[in-house]
């Protein structure tokens, strides 16, 4: 039994105050570090941050590099991750919370699953990276990823170079022989452009010309292209005052006529159509500055080009005995097994990382729905699922949403799990499910560990974008929580 030792009142009070001061300092230090982090990154990143940085592709020049493809990649894999993790997580949560078995063996199993999920939350994310790589990318096999044993949604074309820089696309099959034009074309459908071909557009009439006249045709086509461009630019320049284009209906007709080459007599009707088209486009451009005109000039040029080619009989010409090129078009849902290093594998790997988080938060919000509400439905003769569907889920949705959004905001910042699957330095964003992707956190890591320190400013600017996305996610989550807390 320790002896009672009176301590002086002031000493106790000092201890109390001292602890409070130290603890407040500790909290203050944590917050100051956070503020320092944000300020130091903003100070370095903001000068680099502009629209060009957000849209540009990565470059080996640190002052021109950007995050465009990486941002698109991050958003795409996040979408895949959300679409897979949320239904799976919520379903697992419902199973664990609402269908608790009573028999001994299932109950043990249930407990095992529950503790499993809790433990999964502590697994380092890089371990999920290994799992994602082994399961999704290579599908347990170490065979060549470039030759999947199953694929779907891929179209094959043979591209024949045509006159005037146009190409013609012929639908084909995998491994079609690359035979010269004249032998193949009789039996296949020819399309004017790849875009039309993919949309199942109209067939263009195709005429095969002899290889001998190729130079002549090219020459004529090129001359016409140059002429159109020259006369168009001249006509537009004459009509421009104070950097804006000023036309009315009569002057538009005159300018259009100035841009076109008078055609042979039998094509007079075509000429009138061309003139009308050009005049219409010119009127649409009225009042635009030269910068604003860029887009509409291109439209005008293409329209004129198309008509001019048609009029000159240049459209639909394929030069005989030219060998085609293979052109594969992957639709957005292109699917192959094994997945390879692509978006789907990346998104599903992120799903593995956040699944435990989604399940645990969904479980908590389902548990928070009072038992009486379920009992009410059952008393009215409803089934268990009706109780879940009509009562439990609507009440738990705000909590589930908040948890899911917070989990997604974690997923978008994760670099470790997708290190093995993602790429850095891609020039374009992903265009189908199996496409290679770059991701923002990976790009930031790459720039930070680059020996050339000038990339660190770009890394800081990338971090600002990442944090902006992340904090807006968190803001939405907080908003949902606040809103529904008030409603209840």
């Amino acid at each position: 039994m320790p002896e009672y030792q009176p301590t002086s009142r002031s000493a106790r009070r000092i201890k109390n105050t001292l602890f409070q001061a130290v603890a407040m300092t500790a909290a203050g230090i944590a917050l100051i570090v956070l503020a320092t982090l944000l300020i130091s990154i903003c100070a370095r990143g903001f000068p680099r941050l502009d629209w060009n940085f957000i849209t540009a592709a990565m470059s080996s020049d640190s002052s021109a590099t950007g995050i465009g493809p990486a941002l698109l990649g991050s958003i795409s894999i996040l979408a895949i991750c959300a679409v897979s993790a949320i239904p799976l997580g919520v379903a697992s949560a419902i199973l664990l919370e609402e269908y608790r078995p009573k028999a001994k063996l299932p109950r043990t199993l249930h407990g095992f699953v529950q503790s499993n999920i809790t433990n999964l939350a502590g697994v380092p994310s890089i371990v999920y990276g290994i799992l994602g790589f082994s399961v999704f990318v290579v599908m347990f096999s170490n065979e060549n990823l470039n030759e999947p044993w199953f694929d779907l949604g891929q179209e094959f074309y043979l591209e024949y170079p045509g006159a005037g820089g146009q190409s013609f696309y012929v639908e084909s099959f995998e491994g079609a022989p690359l035979t010269p034009a004249s032998q193949e074309l009789a039996s296949v459908a020819i399309y004017g452009s790849l875009v039309d071909a993919r949309a199942g557009g109209p067939l263009a009439e195709v005429e095969i010309v002899e290889a001998g006249s190729l130079e002549a045709i090219r020459g004529e086509a090129d001359a016409r292209l140059r002429k159109i461009r020259r006369s168009m630019n001249r006509a537009l320049r004459n009509a421009t005052t104070n950097d804006t284009l000023q036309v009315d209906e009569t002057s538009a007709g005159e300018i259009a006529a100035g841009m076109l080459t008078p055609l042979r007599d039998e094509l007079k009707a075509d000429y009138e159509v061309m003139k009308a088209t050009a005049a219409e486009q010119l009127l649409a451009m009225n009042g635009q500055t030269s910068v604003e005109q860029l887009q509409s000039r291109l439209v005008l040029y293409n329209k004129l080009l198309e008509k001019e080619f048609e009029a000159a009989g240049l459209r639909g010409l394929i030069i005989e005995d030219t060998a085609p090129l293979r052109k594969d078009v992957k639709k957005w849902y292109y699917m192959q097994i094994p997945f390879g290093k692509g978006m789907l594998a990346g998104g599903l790997t992120l799903m593995l990382v956040i699944l435990p988080v989604v399940i645990v938060s969904a479980q908590e919000s389902i548990r928070a729905v009072s038992q009486e509400m379920r009992a009410g439905v059952l008393a009215l003769g409803g089934t268990k699922w009706q109780a879940i569907e009509k009562v439990v889920l609507p009440a738990a949705i705000p909590g589930i949403c908040t948890g899911a959004i917070l989990a997604l905001s974690r997923a978008i910042g994760e670099a470790a799990p997708i290190l093995l699957i993602g790429y850095v330095g891609l020039q374009v964003g992903p265009d189908h499910l199996m496409a290679a992707f770059a991701a923002l956190p990976l790009e930031i890591y790459n720039w930070t560990s680059e020996p050339d320190k000038s990339f660190r400013d770009a890394a800081a600017a990338g971090i600002i974008v990442l944090l902006a996305v992340l904090f807006s996610f968190n803001a939405v989550a907080v908003f949902i929580r606040q809103k529904f807390q008030q409603a209840n």
Partner: protein, 352 residues
Amino acid sequence: MTASITTGDGLKAIAQSQSPGKERSTFLRDLKERIIVSVLILCGFITVSITVLIVFILAQQAAGFFGGGIQDVQGREANVSISDFLFALEWNPLQGSDKEFGIWPLIVGTFQVTIVAMCIAIPVGLMVAIWLSEFASPKVRAVIKPAIEIIAGVPTVVFGYFALTFVTPLLQLDFAGIAGNPDVNKANPLDIQIFNVLAAGLTVGIMCIPIVTSLSEDAIRAVPRALREGSYGLGASRFETSIKVVFPAALSGIVAACLLAFARAVGETMIVAIAAGLNPPKLAEGLSNIFAVNEPTQTMTGYMVSVFFGDLATGTVEYQSVYAVGMTLFVITLCITIVGAYIRKRFRQQYE
């Protein structure tokens, strides 16, 4: 109708009629119920299979690493035995002709960083937790707690950037370096190198503060009010109540929180990959290297990143070593998590 019910005939008629109201197909309803339950069970099954798959794949690939018969990058046969891996003190898989695969340098490297981190995260996190729940007014708490939790939302690659470009120059007292142009004649009293344990550890520690704070605050707030009232009633101050009554009562939750933060620090990847360097401590040259916190180190996760980000061919012994390291990492973090869950469950005080 009403009359017949009162006489009882109508009631009998209703009871005997085949369709008292709109007929409901209980068959279809039951079928739907069954289908939904099967879908839910399928989802649960997928979730469980993730854990099973982690263990299976790591074990399978690690077995490939130890099984022999695989070649290294230079095309030579490489045999690594489990006992070498578990007991040797040298780790040198990537450079030179003499490859060594003893895991201990990586484990020690991991714990160097983790222990520095815990020296920051546990005291700061716990003090903040006690202060928030016992001292701070509700208004202050409503501001400080979310602010601390923002730290948990910051991606670790951002912390890595911060460690390399801010914490390291700060430790070197190189204030020009913070702004982006390193000073050649910096003071650097501790001889801190560009990649070092200290900066990585401190940053991991900062990252772990919100984990300790928010989980232990939950545990502390779960201590019933009556215990505090009793203590105040006996004349104890707030400080005495917090330390002598509330803290012991919440100890299981607090220990579990600290263990979770520990597991997170062990598995932390991007910060150490960026700021800690590529050289695990050379244990074979003397165990005192463990304490060289100013020098570079490499953790298990850092090694995995360096292999993943390089371009080693799959199937080589260097590449396969990642799975053995990953397995070790998984086992260590899983043990910590399980111990944490056990402590929380076993030693939880039940108050009614």
